[in-house]
Amino acid sequence: MKKFFVIALLAILGFYLTIAFLQIPFGQNRLGQPQDEATVGAYYLNNTKEKSAVSNVVTAIVVNYRGFDTLGEVTVLFLASTGLASILYRRKEEEVERINKPSSSLLQTGSKFLFPLVVLLGIYVFIHGHLTPGGGFQGGAIIATGFLLMLIAYQKYHVSHSMLTWVESLAGVLFVSIGLWGLITGGTFLENSYFPKGVLNSLISGGAIPIIYIAVGFKVAAELTGVLDILLNTKEEKSVPSNQNEK
């Protein structure tokens, strides 16, 4: 009975998927040229400039046209880091020991100098996500490497996990609330045309797209930093005195 039910469900699903896919003409060039108006790529290339005032079309596709997908990606990363934290995170700092060995004082001093520059590069990458290649994910990963440098150089360097959680949650709430604002004003989730657009090719342009990318950057940076901090810690092996066991 159960098997029959499953097969019937699969058959219904397959039937509707086949109908949906049969409407797409097979073997034709759907990506196409910018001149050919009927294709998908032409739509993006021709309409991004006027509709969302973003000079980087890839960013417009990732954050605006497929913004829901990006929200899903960020959620996947959040779930991965949360799962890792729930398995490996230790609340008491006395029980924790670092994997890495002590580093030289040259490395410690140098990484103190390099850390702000790395964070600056990360912020630059995600603020300019709608103008240049790069964006929230890349900038967040760069910031996390800066934290990794400090974590490796200093054994006593600890990142506050409550602050990471706050940053991550606020960034996620900002992303979703921008999407809901688009739903209220424009009728679709992450609708961008109701935000002030700004001038094309300047820093303040593209409506909500830079704000979303900044939120994504903070979120990814907080998540990856938390993952790295957790992975670098091991639990200290408690040495049990032998004579206590004998008594």
Binding site: P102, S104, L106, G110, L114, Y154, Q155
Partner: protein, 118 residues
Amino acid sequence: MMEYLKYIGQGLIVFGSLFLFLGALGIFRMPDFYNRLQAGTKASTLGAMSLILGVGFIQPEWMIKSLIIVVFIAVANPLSSHALGRSAYKNNLKPFMKKKMDAYEKVAEILPKEEDRL
């Protein structure tokens, strides 16, 4: 004025790519890890710095950015090679030597223990 800046920049780029090539040759040609590290780091630090400075001379509006990158390379490149060489030495990677010359062995006795410092 702009013409001269452009020529200076092009000269710096040629100079830098020459040194990057020499660094690659050194990595290919040198016998062991420490020599390769030294060749790669010294040559590629100078090469990359002068190449990026040359870009800054050709496009004067990028000068501040390229100066920041030059400072970053000047600190990061020797630092990373120091960390690599030190960890290789700590993990008992033997250098290729014709004569027995290990200066760090004598210095390491004088230096304070690393476990005390953290």
